[in-house]
């Protein structure tokens, strides 16, 4: 390693001594790839490759809506603990945070924005720290993280929080008011009104995903999630939330601490799921068992300029590499990840093979199985700790939940797991995906791609 550092020093010298020209910054940043964008480059006049790094990512447990642990919890009480956990873990001065962006979907916009602002106060943020919400349906949480990363990159601020919040207990999916009759003329606009379950049936039908495959995926999801919970893998990412719950029979109110996802059913079996009836369509294949669960929960991700994290001595959990949102046919909105993932991976300068771990939201088994097959992903790399069918899918929070799960799993897996991808389909026909890199990989020189074994290898090559 010392040798590599010396080599960098010699080569960097070639660039620095001629540094008076204005174009220099751009060129020096090319060495970033190997130099890791630390403070040393900043001082040389190069732009800190302002990749937002220095992540911390936490989430609440996800609980079944209306029946689970958070059924009597105010939405702001879900958000506040994860925000506070970020501050507690990093000992960060909350006034340094430049913005908080919260992805949230179902609640009325202005009310939710107010709730979020209130949650920030509960968490101990001063009035000087602003907060806003973002709504890109199911990818809102990821969009929030991407927005913060982009703002940091743009130099608007150095530290930000991307979060997600959804209480499907408080805000069930519904349409308010009448529907514009014009929608009938535009097929795709009309398709935006399809219940999500129907779009799932469409995916299954159009791309030939069988009921058997879907049920199998659901069983796997529960099995993996149960195994991960049993192994304590979620302990690092879940912030215990102390809240109250009302016993539906006695009406008695008591205090509980929720620290485990309550939707996971370890005993889920193919034969059990096979008994369930299709919900959305007669002779359909989408059932309650192979769809995501309706849940309550929140998640939050702390992002900052990498150089700042280094300066503060904070360990870097991951680096936000790229983000892409794409549009697809609303009638088969579930195929979004199959389009978004290649787009995000490409913009990160990678190929699909470079990615070691995928977190793809399981809105429905049909679309999840389709995307996995379409991209020819190794099932061993996808949703290794289960997905939304077992853990739950609180719409706005899902993105942030996935970041927490992905980054912690990447941390556990060590250096062999360098790049991870998060993706989800989006109602009304879209997909979003983001590429993350393991934080500590940036500090060392590793190869994005292993050298393929070849028969050209000469006698003395390693």
């Amino acid at each position: 390693m010392e040798k590599a550092i010396n080599r960098q020093r010699v080569l960097l010298q070639h660039l620095l001594s001629s540094s008076s020209s204005p174009g220099n910054a751009r060129i020096v940043s090319r060495l970033d790839l190997v130099e890791a964008d630390d403070g040393s480059l900043d001082s040389a006049g190069a732009p800190a490759r302002s990749t937002a790094g220095g992540f911390r990512a936490y989430r609440t447990a996800l609980c079944k809506s209306k029946r689970g642990g958070f059924k009597d919890t105010h939405p702001d009480d879900l958000l506040a603990p994860v925000l506070k956990a970020l501050l507690d873990a990093t000992k960060l001065d909350p006034s340094e945070v430049g913005d908080i962006v919260v992805g949230t979907v179902l609640a009325p916009g202005s009310q939710r924005a107010s709730e979020c602002r209130m949650a920030a106060f509960y968490a101990g943020f001063p009035e000087t720290v602003p907060i806003r919400t973002v709504n890109r349906q199911c990818s809102s949480g990821l969009q929030a993280v991407a927005d913060v990363a982009a703002a940091i990159k743009a130099g608007f601020y150095d530290i930000g929080i991307g979060a997600g919040l959804e209480s499907m207990t408080s805000n069930p999916m519904a349409w308010e008011g009448s529907i514009n009759p014009k929608a009938k003329i535009y097929t795709q606009a009309q398709d935006c009104l399809l219940p999500m379950g129907i779009t799932s049936e469409n995916v299954a039908h159009r791309f030939g995903v069988t009921r058997q495959e879907q049920d199998q995926a659901a069983v796997e999801s529960h099995r993996k999630a149960a195994a991960a919970t049993a192994a304590g893998k979620f302990k690092d990412e879940i912030v215990p939330v102390t809240t109250k719950i009302v016993d539906p029979k006695t009406g008695e109110e008591k205090e509980i601490t929720v620290s485990v996802d309550d939707g996971i059913r370890p005993g889920t079996s193919i034969s059990g799921l096979a008994k369930l009836k299709a919900v959305f369509k007669k002779d359909g294949s989408t059932t309650a068992g192979n769809s995501s669960q309706v849940s309550d929960g929140a998640g939050a991700v702390l992002l900052m300029k990498r150089s700042l994290a280094v300066q503060k001595g904070l360990p870097v959990l991951g680096v936000f590499r790229s983000f892409a949102a794409v549009g697809v046919d609303p009638a088969v909105m579930g195929i979004g990840p199959a389009v978004a993932i290649p787009a995000a991976v490409k913009s990160a300068g990678l190929e699909l093979d470079d990615v070691d771990l995928f977190e793809i939201n399981e809105a429905f088994a049909s679309q999840f199985v389709y995307c996995r097959k379409k991209l020819e992903l190794d099932p061993e790399k996808v949703n290794v700790n289960g997905g939304a069918m077992a853990i739950g899918h609180p719409l706005g929070a899902t993105g942030a939940r996935c970041v927490a799960t992905l980054l912690h799993e990447m941390k556990r897996r060590g250096k062999d797991c360098r790049f991870g991808v998060i993706s989800m389909c989006i109602g009304t026909g879209m997909g979003a995906a983001a590429v993350f890199e393991r934080g500590d990989n940036v500090d060392v020189l590793t190869n994005a791609r292993k050298v393929q074994p070849n028969n050209l290898l000469s006698r003395d090559a390693l």
């Binding site: 070639h14 660039l15 790839l33 190997v34 050298v451 028969n455 050209l456 000469s458 006698r459 090559a461």
Partner: protein
């Protein structure tokens, strides 16, 4: 389209002195900072015009330079970052290569140059501040030249005298040596910054060009080193390599960290004749064909190797 995509960053490219359509490309993984290296032997297919790989040889560390033997059509030497100097036979399969391997340099070997006059020996310049002279039939280096105070980036034989060469160093000097003499015969403080490359004019035995990280190229008459004959300015970053034309006395080719390859007429008022910007990363190596006038080659950190005729667009 004579473009070749190497797997690693291109560090050097050399036309074969025996076959007009053959080139040698030295590459290194991760820009030569860490990882493996590979040397590609490429042939320009006369029918399709594409560059085809004939052989590739892997090494344990990045390859910074390579040079064809002037005496044997398939033999070539390579400068490896781990301090090795290796000789390869392109006619033999990788399993029978390298034919010779010398480990004497204490640090990265940055350049290798085959003697074009006597043809039996070659020079290597290393970041261990030394230049070494080698002969193919000797088990170890013939001589080590220690005078530079910092990395020696290149050593270049005089095209006229069998025993004279120049070395360019990060100590801001170029030294001229006669291998029969115990010490260097001339020291030129050619630039105020590190000097990365030097080359002799093929038609004027006293004319030497130097390239520096100060972005300039200077042309010297070694009989009067108080001031350069010419200063060529136009690169916007360190000039990494320069090469005089084998065909025209006034022409020289350069490549730079500004990602361009430039052709100069050092005696003309408007010295810059052409600027080629086909590369999207630092350009590591360039060469001008001895056998085909105006045929140029470049290799860059974008892993691409281009071979083209001067005046045409390398990308087409």
């Amino acid at each position: 389209m004579p473009i070749f995509k190497a797997g690693f960053s291109g560090q050097a490219v050399r036309f074969s002195p025996f076959y007009e359509n053959r080139v040698l490309v030295a590459t290194a993984q991760n820009f030569g900072i860490i990882g493996n290296g590979r040397v590609h032997v490429l042939d320009l297919d006369p029918v399709t015009g594409s560059l085809l790989e004939i052989r590739a040889f892997d090494t344990a560390d990045g390859v910074y330079d390579c040079a064809w033997s002037e005496v044997h059509e398939s033999l070539f030497a390579s400068a490896v970052a781990d301090g090795h100097v290796k000789l390869w036979d392109a006619a033999l399969p990788p399993t029978s290569n390298p034919v010779l391997s010398f480990k004497e340099h204490g640090r990265e070997v940055h350049s290798v140059d085959w003697n074009p006059v006597r043809r039996d020996s070659f020079l290597t310049a290393s970041w261990d501040d030394t230049v070494k002279l080698w002969a193919v039939d000797r088990p170890a280096s013939v001589r080590t030249f220690r005078e530079h105070a910092y990395c020696v980036y290149s050593a270049s034989w005089s095209p006229r005298h069998a025993d004279i060469f120049a070395s360019a160093s990060g100590d801001c000097t170029v030294r001229v040596w006669d291998v029969r003499e115990p010490v260097s015969t001339l020291t030129i403080p050619a630039h105020e910054h590190e000097i990365l490359s030097c080359d002799w004019n093929k038609y004027d035995q006293c004319c030497l060009a130097t390239a520096s990280i100060d972005k300039s190229i200077r042309v010297w008459d070694i009989r009067n080193i108080r001031a350069p004959l010419n200063r060529l300015e136009g690169h916007t970053f360190a000039v990494r390599k320069i090469k005089f034309s084998p065909h025209r006395m006034n022409l020289l080719l350069s490549c730079s960290y500004d990602m361009t390859v430039c052709l100069w007429d050092y005696q003309a008022e408007d010295a810059l004749l052409a600027r080629y910007d086909q590369h999207t990363e630092f350009v590591g190596g360039i060469d001008m064909s001895v056998l085909v006038e105006g045929m140029l080659a470049s290799a860059g950190w974008d892993e691409l190797v281009y071979v083209w005729q001067h005046g045409t667009d390398p990308r087409l």
